[in-house]
Amino acid sequence: MSTTPLLRVAGVNKRFGGLQALSDVGIEIERGQIYGLIGPNGAGKTTFFNVITGLYSPDSGSFELDGKPYSPSEPHRVAAAGIARTFQNIRLFPEMTALENVMVGRHVRTHSTALGAVLRTRATRREEEAIRQRAADLLAYVGVAKYADFQARTLAYGDQRRLEIARALATDPKLLALDEPAAGMNATEKLALRGLLENIRKDGVTILLIEHDVKLVMGLTDRVTVLDYGKVIAAGSPYEVQRDPAVIEAYLGGAHQNVATKDAA
Amino acid sequence: METFIQQVINGLVLGSVYSLIALGYTMVYGILNLINFAHGDVLMVGALTALSTILVLKAHFPDAPGWLLMLCGLATAIPVCVVVSLVIERVAYRPLRNAPRLAPLITAIGVSIILQTLAMLIWGRNYMQFPQLLPGEPIHILGATITVTKLAIVVLSALIMVALMLLVNRTRLGRAMRATAENPRVAGLMGVNPNYVIAVTFAIGASLAAVAGVMIAANYAVAHFYMGFMPGLKAFTAAVLGGIGNIPGAMVGGLLLGLIESLGAGYIGQLTGGVLGSHYQDVFAFIVLCGVLILRPQGLLGERVADRA
């Protein structure tokens, strides 16, 4: 049983013109954890996500997944290495059906070639069937099986978020990075989401999530890192972090209210 | 050395024309993120309109001085091109302002074809001779020769570019144009009518194209329905080379491309040991185009395109 962290990132700096978006940010996530990344709007949480998943290239930083260094230079390589993500603004493939969206997620773990497709070889047909089946299973797993043949853009908001999670899971990730999965959800949906995330963790996938909903973060995460103005101001258990004066200060003092906003930075 | 100077002079002449055309491309792209594929054909319309005017005037006033005929030609070519350009913008581009970017590009290709076929119908398919209107004896400079026509091209282009820079940087309209080019919606909030500014942009571009078309026809003494394609494509290359959307960039890009083409065509025989001849001249522009887009897509002076978020 390895004790190296699943994800070890250190010293990440990222500057956009005059703005230092990230300063010496690092994170260590143990296998099987649910890890939270929180902070006020504009703190750099999504920027950090984009860096570790290869969408932005950092000015500096070291990145290690499962003990092996990886270079976050190209998103598809990061996905192949084992980090899958969802997006703050939901980026599904709008005109593909829910099932097809998840099938696309299987792309990185499958190998059928153009030649195989043209010749309809048995291996290709078998793989297609396996892809279809796995996608259907994942849709059921997240709870949107009945929308399998519906265009993704026509799904209800909460269902779209769950679909995006299913698609990310289809890539068989070691680490699932979720950017505000609960944004815009009502209390019932959030409860269901919490159950889903705990199932995902139980089934062996480590989770990193950006979230604003305090109750969700407190109840769900094992450890939390707090960002403010691109710097790490606290890291520890949710309980510790909630009481950290620097964190309270960052959130403008006083009890932090539930500010689940859809258009957070 | 004389060859070199000759090629440089030729390059400047060529480059001046490219600059004028490139300005039209760059201004439209700066505001609309649209490659006005039909711009080269507007140039052609200008040249042919001027030619018709000149031929008619010549028939009625055979003793009229050449430069006067030339001016009359320009006086008809410019308004015609402006009208054509505004009609195109209104009918083919404006309805597609919010469509995915490739839709207006396809429309632009269609418009280009329509202009060419209309030209074929009006002026026929044959190459037409453009009369020599300015004195033809060559002037000698630094061991190279230049005709009055070529000199006129360079001088006129320079004057026009100066005037344009003044317009864009020192006038209210110019400020409105720059604002719209940067962010149409915010400019609108500031009281600028974007449709008006866009129309003006097209009109200015078309005028420059008309002048360029007449210059090309006068320089090569020929005009025909397909004459706009190559200069148009090369001028677009020049615009990209300088940085699309960037007005000084278009000027620099045009001159630079003219020089590259002229020097390249002049020396390619020597460079390749006789394998490639000067009929590969057109290829230079394409190679520059592909090279710039692949290696430095923002161009030499940086691109300036509208924030259309």
């Binding site: 969408l55 598809h76 980026r91 493939f93 519906f150 853009r153 | 083919a92 490739l102 490639l276």
Partner: protein
């Protein structure tokens, strides 16, 4: 067949019947057309060739969403490849080759088709690799530039070594010969004499059908999904592990193969080729076929190809006599009219029916009560 008419998705019998009916029509078509005029049969053969081209471009433009304005370059590559391998040109100009191949260059169709495909794919990779990262309109212009560069080289590669014979082109190209039977001579089929044009028509229709099958299989494969994902949201596609560069390159190369094979067939059919046949206008015509018919929708693309390919013949048959009747003379030449209609078609389609005349039906179900007019992921 079931792709064409989705309402038959669940009726295998209807699909089979439809296939037979269409098949029969295709077989009988030349006989019907020749009643109107022999030129029509030739036009039909070219239409089949254009269907291949349009389907190839459809892979690039329709499936992968990449606007290629220089597609005709692959057609040229295939055509010149066959011309060089199946005509006296090389043996006439290079005595060393003449000595090595005293009977001249002749190539079997079984060699030419795969070779044409492979060569075109190679060019597709070479031309595509540096440019696929460019944004849409820049990609269009660069591909246009590449197409022109190839045409200029074909026009000028008659010095210092005469490879392409420059503007005069290459003549005396062998006709296609299958299993010893040359398609240039009429064949006897169950007592019916089939002229050479009919034979070429059947060959091209067969190749077109193969193209359709390949297109459908690609569209519904893992690769087809990857293309659609890239078209809909390239960033999300990358995040899901799709190597977008390679996938786009594959579209370019596969699209090119259709062009290469069509080019080789064109070369054999016409017996003569020159750079004149491979201009930007030709690239635009093929694009117009895809756009007019329905970008990305295979039946639409076929419709567009057939319509625009038959248009010249149709115009010659109607525009000329109509104008003579109305004006006493031909005011607008059929050629010019044809080009004008292409231009108008492109403008009007983009303005009023951007998805084409026969667009793909709504993909997937809609949840009742959801907004129908969300912005589309199509490139137009």
């Amino acid at each position: 067949m079931r792709l064409f008419f989705p309402q038959w998705r669940h009726s295998k019998a209807a699909a089979i019947v439809a296939t037979f009916v269409v098949g029969a029509c295709l077989v009988l078509l030349p006989f019907v057309a020749s009643e109107i005029g022999n030129a029509w049969v030739r036009a039909l053969a070219f239409a089949a060739l254009y269907v291949m081209l349009a389907l190839g471009l459809n892979i690039v433009v329709g499936f992968a969403g990449l606007l290629d304005l220089g597609y005709i370059a692959f057609y040229a590559v295939g055509a010149y490849m066959y011309a060089l391998l199946a005509s006296p040109h090389l043996t006439n100009n290079f005595p060393a080759l003449a000595a090595a191949f005293p009977d001249g260059f002749h190539s079997s169709i079984w060699l030419v088709i795969p070779l044409g495909a492979a060569l075109a794919a190679f060019f597709g990779v070479v031309l595509g690799a540096p440019v696929l990262k460019l944004r849409g309109d820049y990609l269009a212009i660069v591909t246009l530039g590449f197409g022109e560069i190839i045409r200029i080289f074909l026009l000028n590669l008659n010095q210092p070594v005469n490879l392409t014979n420059g503007p005069q082109g290459i003549t005396l190209i062998d006709p296609v010969s299958i299993l010893g039977v040359s398609l240039a001579r009429p064949a006897n089929f169950f007592g019916i004499s089939l002229p050479s044009v009919y034979l070429y028509y059947y060959l091209f229709v067969l190749l077109a059908v193969v193209s359709v099958v390949i297109s459908i299989r690609l569209q519904e494969s893992r690769l087809g999904r990857a293309w659609m994902a890239i078209r809909e949201d390239e960033v999300a596609a990358k995040a899901m592990g799709i190597n977008t560069r390679n996938v786009k390159l594959l579209a370019f190369a596969l699209g090119a193969t259709f062009g290469g094979v069509a080019g080789a067939m064109f070369s054999a059919f016409q017996g003569f080729i020159s750079p004149e046949s491979f201009t930007l206008h030709e690239s635009i015509i093929v694009l117009a076929m895809v756009v007019l018919g329905g970008i990305g929708h295979i039946p639409g693309v076929i419709l567009g190809a057939v319509m625009l390919a038959m248009l010249p013949e149709f115009l010659r048959a109607t525009a000329v006599p109509v104008q003579r009747a109305l004006f006493g003379e031909v005011v607008v030449d059929a050629e010019v009219l044809r080009m004008m209609l292409y231009g108008l078609a492109m403008v009007l389609v983009m303005l009023y029916r951007p998805k084409g005349l026969w667009p793909a039906p709504e993909h997937g179900k809609q949840r009742p009560g959801t907004a129908e007019n969300a912005p589309s992921a199509s490139i137009v």
